[in-house]
């Protein structure tokens, strides 16, 4: 990650925090600033992904191009869908969905990733 990108992410996180901390009064003007910020962040992350398509990465390292996608999902969730606002159970439900998704993918991949050829006799006939 370039320093510029890091700064961009940092401002994103900070503004998410400030959005979550501002009191819930109805603004006289529409709250477009966080949405614009989200859009900029999303386009930046998309550009990183697009660039990654042309980066030489080993076959087993390629799934790491999913990291920007996860960040994009986080941006959409916090700034477009406003998971931080509203009643507490909204966050509970979102967290539950993520946790169970983790269980499904984590324990589900455990088998193929650790499945070995059946233990053959190591006593070599030679």
């Amino acid at each position: 990650m370039t320093p510029g990108l890091r700064r961009l992410l940092l401002t994103g996180v900070l503004s998410m925090l400030s959005a979550a901390l501002t009191p819930r009064t109805r603004p006289a003007r529409p709250r477009l600033r966080p949405l614009l910020l989200a859009w900029v962040l999303l386009m930046a992350l998309l550009a990183i992904e697009f660039g990654a398509a042309f980066t030489p990465l080993g076959r087993s390292a390629r799934p790491f191009v999913l990291i920007p996608a996860v960040l994009m999902v986080a941006v959409v969730g916090t700034l477009f869908m406003r998971v931080g606002r509203g009643v507490t159970i909204v966050r509970l439900f979102a967290a539950a969905g993520l946790l169970w998704l983790g269980i499904l993918l984590g324990l589900g991949s455990l088998d193929p990733l650790t499945r070995t050829d059946y233990p053959v006799q190591t006593g070599n006939p030679q």
């Binding site: 109805r26 603004p27 006289a28 003007r29 529409p30 709250r31 477009l32 949405l35 614009l36 989200a38 859009w39 999303l42 386009m43 998309l46 992904e49 697009f50 990654a52 398509a53 042309f54 980066t55 030489p56 990465l57 076959r59 390629r62 799934p63 191009v65 999913l66 920007p68 996608a69 994009m72 999902v73 959409v76 969730g77 700034l79 477009f80 869908m81 998971v83 509203g86 009643v87 159970i89 909204v90 439900f93 979102a94 539950a96 969905g97 993520l98 169970w100 998704l101 499904l104 993918l105 589900g108 991949s109 193929p112 990733l113």
Partner: protein, 217 residues
């Protein structure tokens, strides 16, 4: 939403606000089930790629990265515009709400046209549909075939969700034109917005799985 206390609500709720918050919570829970629905598909991606890496990636290299990326940008924009519409109705700007929803709707349609009208069309043309005339043969054929199975099943299911989303956004536009939404009552706008952004999220995950992971030297 303190002015909402006099608004009508169903008899099991104590206030309209109570009902609105509950509806939004229900939508989130529904989206949690949708996560697991697509999660199973993502696990099938893990398996198919794990057992057939070379072929799977060879299949991925046949996809159209340009259309995929443009489509991602379109969906992100659509979600952005819809969220802006929600922000407008919260301050009572009904005209902007309708405009935003209409733009979001058209962007969604543009996505579908690019995806199914152009990209799928090209894929069929290049015999990338895993049928009897599948283009990739030889040692890598099996894995490539599984890739395109994931590609077609994944994009089709996402497409079905998109169509459902377009219907919902259209419904919101119709109700907005009838002037049914106000700063005090716009639960359907918010709930549909959640769904619309979720469909966006699914695509954001599908995009690297389809176009990026298998690409590269």
């Amino acid at each position: 939403m303190s002015d909402a206390s006099y608004l009508p609500h169903e008899f099991q709720y104590s206030s309209a606000r109570h009902q609105a918050e509950t509806a939004i919570a229900g939508m989130w829970l529904f989206l949690a089930t949708e996560m697991l629905f697509f999660g199973a598909l993502f696990l099938s991606w893990v398996y198919s790629r794990h057992w057939n890496q070379a072929g799977f990636d060879a299949g991925a290299q046949q996809t159209n990265l340009t259309i995929g990326t443009v489509n991602t940008a379109i969906l992100v924009a659509s979600s952005f515009v819809y969220s802006a519409g929600l922000a407008f109705i919260e301050v009572g700007n009904k005209r902007r709400l309708i405009q935003c929803c209409a733009v979001a709707w058209m962007l969604g349609l543009a996505f579908l046209i690019l995806k199914f009208g152009v990209e799928w069309h090209d894929d069929f043309h290049k015999h990338l549909f895993p049928g009897p005339h599948f283009a990739i043969t030889g040692a890598l054929g099996g894995g490539a075939r599984l890739f395109f199975i994931f590609y077609f099943v994944g994009t089709a299911l996402h497409g079905v969700h998109m169509i459902g989303g377009l219907v919902l956004v259209g419904w919101v536009i119709l109700r907005a034109r009838r002037g049914e939404f106000s700063p005090g009552y716009h639960t359907p706008v918010a709930a549909v917005g959640l769904y619309w952004s979720f469909v966006d999220m699914v695509w954001i995950v599908l995009y690297p799985l389809i176009y990026l992971v298998g690409r590269g030297p």
